[in-house]
Symmetry: C2
Subunit: 432 residues, 2 copies
């Protein structure tokens, strides 16, 4: 037999957690999921495998190289690389039976054959919400999004964070007003880098692009922090339709922040946020952990004009955000931000029988389970010490020890595994 042993390895770039970490991962996933439901989003679950022709209708360049694509029988198949393309397909396919605005959440694995490196995964969870309108979609939806981000990250409790918003129309309109209408995409791409490369390098790159000194300074001023960004934008008095529309939108979104329960210090208009240049057309979002800005955005998204133009002639505008859970979990772990005190066990109690006849211990377990208490019974014949050792390693908070005396008295010995305190009580008195 030994000759045929295959080394049981997991591929690089694929996260596979030990149970203790998986419990914490699932806790975070459930908080995200329950918050999405709290805001009335509907679940969908699409296949991981799609027809390549459908999945890659839009993709190209870098993305296409990273696709897991293969043939099976006569089919050209690909694994999904995000949850947005499957959403576009889903909405176009089910257009006639869905109610709009269509509010959906989707938490699932996606696949990209990236070069494996620390914190980069080839299989990773995305946790997405999007609101899709039929033809049009109220700007009010853009105002609700930060409220969802706020609720998720407040519950997750990884420390103070800031939701940064901007509006692509503002940026585009401003660059137009400087006479840079033919360079907007390039300027955006450069401006987007300011956090990483600094202002001086941005100016140099703008200079290389042919932007003159005066405009370089105006751009740097614009994307710098302002005491009151909205007042600053008003004070610019820029007569440009895109700019004015963007200003109107960002004012509207900001107006409702407090009503949506987002405190002032968790929300900031930041004119340096550019994001997904080709796709987003209005509001854009990033979320920064204040103490760890180097992590980058932990939740991003924005407004787009046309979700499914490759699948339908219907105009389907939307707004959405995504949390890259697998990378987030990796980073939280690296930064030791995962909670030490949160539940690290599934069971609340483990029953440790010290007798051969298991009838009574099993009855106790059955009663506790019926009360909704997650309960494990240690069923192996081992020495008492080994049994308790197992319970300790599982981080199960309570043990119930049952020997001859407990059976005779129709009671149990309940032990707090953290403090070591124990007392003999009736089943009814077990307060778990």
């Amino acid at each position: 037999m030994a000759n045929n042993i295959v080394e049981p390895r997991t591929l690089p770039g694929f996260m596979e957690l030990l149970p203790q970490d998986q419990i914490e991962f699932n806790r975070i996933k459930r908080i995200i999921e329950s918050t999405y439901e709290q805001f009335g989003f509907l679940p969908i679950d699409t296949p991981i495998i799609e027809d390549s022709k459908v999945l890659l209708a839009k993709a190209g360049g870098e993305t296409e190289k990273q696709i897991y694509r293969f043939e099976k029988g006569d089919n050209d198949l690909s694994l999904r690389f995000d949850l947005t393309v499957p959403l576009a397909k889903y909405v176009a396919k089910n257009y006639g039976v869905l109610s709009f605005p269509f509010r959906r959440y989707h938490i699932g694995k996606v696949y990209r054959a990236e070069r494996p490196q620390k914190g980069r995964y080839r299989e990773f969870y995305q946790c997405d919400i999007d609101v899709i309108g039929d033809g049009e979609l109220s700007i009010s939806n853009d105002a609700e999004i930060p409220s969802i981000i706020y609720t998720v990250f407040k519950k997750l409790d990884f420390g103070k964070f800031t939701i940064k918003i901007n509006n692509r129309k503002l940026l585009g309109g401003f660059f137009e007003s400087l006479g840079l209408e033919d360079k907007i995409t390039d300027v955006l791409r450069i401006v987007d880098k300011v956090d990483k490369i600094g202002k001086e390098n941005v100016k140099e790159m703008l200079s290389d692009l042919g932007v003159d000194d005066a405009n370089q300074n105006k751009i740097i001023d614009f994307i710098s922090a302002h005491d009151n960004t909205i007042s600053y934008l008003d004070s610019l008095n820029i007569e440009n339709d895109s700019f004015k529309k963007g200003l109107e939108e960002i004012k509207y979104v900001s107006k409702y922040m407090n009503s949506f329960g987002v405190p002032d210090d968790y929300y900031k208009v930041d004119l340096s946020i550019a994001r997904g240049l080709d796709y987003y057309t209005g509001t854009v979002y990033e979320t920064i952990l204040d103490e760890y800005p180097e992590i980058g955005s932990v939740c991003s998204g924005g407004r787009y004009e046309n979700l499914a133009e490759y699948y339908t002639n219907k105009k389907l505008p939307g707004v959405g955000i995504s949390i890259g859970l697998t990378r987030l979990f990796y980073v939280l772990n690296e930064y030791k931000l995962l909670k030490e005190n949160t539940q690290k066990a599934i069971s609340k109690v483990i029953i440790v029988p010290m007798i051969d006849d298991l009838t009574y211990p099993i009855e106790v377990a059955t009663k506790l389970r019926a009360r909704g208490v997650n309960t494990e019974i240690f069923l192996e014949e081992k020495a008492f010490k080994k049994k308790l050792n197992y319970a300790n390693k599982q981080n199960i908070p309570y043990a119930i020890i049952i020997g001859e005396d407990e059976v005779a008295q129709n009671k149990v010995t309940l032990k707090n595994m953290e403090t070591g305190d124990q007392s003999t009580v009736s089943i009814e008195e077990i307060g778990l």
Copy 2:
């Protein structure tokens, strides 16, 4: 644009539900998951893509043909076709850091390129639990399994069901006692078909195999229903080690059924259950919906000697069960067994503003959400009727209507969408 439209189709053999059905699917999945946790099983989540050399260490024949296998770069990759092989890999890989008995649950998608037909899927969810011992594993674990099946299907509430158990050692020992020790596998394969082909055909096939008339009748008697199967087995007085061991095991398992909360009429020893001939070595389980036996088993499993022999020399016996959720959901839907009355909406209430300024409606939503009430706000500017029409289609049980009067009074109008009853109340009085 119209020229480049790709038809937004989903591949045949892949289940993709509309939101209403997805809600019900998720409800079932959560019941299974929470029950597995109630019994103290730990979650794991392994990659869908594995190294082919690892994943296919054991596979062969029919299974291998159905594998989605492909190359990416220098890697020979395969999609998992069950959750047992990944478990074997996981336990062998993490042997040194896991606590045994290792109790794990895993709910995830698996892939088989079967010929698409009604009720057969190429991507489907399996919901597995297994208890893995290190070297040995107490038979008590076999007794706990029916308790888990009972709790899951009782909660799911699809009508009366029966958990059928048998023991492979009993069957093997009985056939040995008839002098058929060199035909055991073939006899098992034939006997396993009795539900589908009937007793006469079983006899004919046994005859073709060279089993004489007397033994044919003994086998048919054996696998037929008995008033008290355990007494029947005792009365046979068979002096065969395997038979005696199997009888001892099935007695032990049956002994604890009541303590584990499984009522007598939900549990039955059935000597015609054979299952997974190569893999199982002791107790085997099937679960039948009493009113729909033609559906076949909705939850099956059993005891095996050696989980991970292809990955390690350690002996890792285990016992487990699996629910094929995707097929189960399909079948329940076909048989109209999905509950009509269960929650078909995510939101408990939808707020319908009849005013332009959304401040007050948003504040109401924020308060309800903070109370844990899943709340949607209809944010689009539409006619009132269209707004209520949307709410109706979503099956959301309550609507909160807010117009000028409600704002002035600092109240809301709460409407029960089923009865049509409505009343004007303060936010504090909303009893959702």
